[in-house]
Symmetry: C2
């Protein structure tokens, strides 16, 4: 077990959700024990990296045996903070906002959607899966009154920063942003920018790289 709790690198942190997903799959297959070597084979990281990653948070394995899948799954869930609920709201109830609202997996992992907000009168008052679309004018009041912690930004990119600023002023703790804009937040606020177009353009690059081999 790591004694000195020094800062864990983002590279490690971003691998944790992948471990979590693969462990969940193992449990669903009723596999209750796994070695770093075998996990390496299915997840694609080296066994060494898996052991080192996990050891950033504690010694969850046992020499000669490996890891108990259920225990490790629970531990990583704790590390990721998936052991409690996060009251959340979506701002921008358009195509993407509605798609996310309709997606139950995030709710099941603790992200409870309490309301959606929009500026378009035609959308205000509608419900998506029991969650009402409210007038964005009520955003601050709702966040304060309901102790909302997470805001999911699905507004056009030109409104993304101002929406974030309103969320932060109202007391939000974290922002999940889908607008193609790098939202700036103060140090005590957590931001995760998604940027789907960057993923698509990477695909585009790789498509051409293959067509024009440079080696």
């Amino acid at each position: 077990m790591q004694r000195t709790s020094q800062k864990v690198s983002m590279a490690v942190i971003r691998r944790l959700p992948k471990y979590y997903r693969y462990l969940e799959n193992l449990l669903n297959k009723e596999i209750y024990r796994i070695s770093s070597k075998e996990l390496s084979r299915i997840i694609g990281f080296t066994a060494s990296q898996i052991r080192q990653d996990l050891n950033c948070f504690g010694g969850f394995g046992q020499q000669g045996y490996g890891y108990n899948v259920e225990e490790l799954y629970k531990e990583i869930g704790k590390i990721l903070g998936l052991v409690r609920e996060y009251k959340s709201v979506i701002i921008g109830a358009g195509n993407l906002g509605q798609a996310i609202a309709n997606y139950s997996d995030f709710q099941r992992k603790g992200f409870k959607l309490k309301a959606m907000f929009d500026i378009n009168p035609k959308l205000i008052g509608l419900k998506i899966r029991d969650v009402e679309i409210l007038d964005v004018d009520n955003l601050e009041d709702f966040i304060k009154e309901n102790d909302i912690e997470v805001g999911i930004i699905c507004v056009p990119f030109s409104k993304a920063q101002e929406t974030a600023d309103r969320l932060i002023a109202a007391g939000i703790k974290g922002i999940w942003n889908f607008a193609p804009f790098d939202i700036k937040v103060p140090d005590n606020i957590v931001i995760e920018n998604v940027h789907l177009s960057e993923s698509l353009f990477t695909l585009s690059y790789l498509l051409n790289e293959y067509n024009n081999p440079e080696d």
Copy 2:
């Protein structure tokens, strides 16, 4: 200019779309010249990294002057392969598939949506922005007849790999996958897995890290 065209690292490649986006913003603000130092200030990478990244592909700047924004934007567009069209299809016309189909930005960057496919008879025959939802039974024929290059997977995770296999067998070149499953593809096929839940769980981790400072 880099003489030997050695392999560019994925770290660099994944930064290119960000350069592209910021340069587009600069052009919209009618800024036609920029130094690595100033770009560093607005994009958040070090000036040194910017110069080194760009130099993987050529000497686009000029000593004493900086970079011509329009020229650099065009060059990166070429590098990313955003100078031609990619005929694409979406498989899975549910919440996310429809949201992506309704999003015009990707089309504007060259990703032309030619059809959507679903297994649900209630959806088959409907149109999203002039694009028809077809029976997934016709997937292979459509891809071959229309020279489709890119498949966007929006089916449930349990159908993701088999959908990919069908796409590949039919001659697709690249796959953009939104299902929470790491799709395996042969070497000559490009895959970009999105994994929104990994992004959300990273946010969750960071929310808790802040609450339990470890330093």
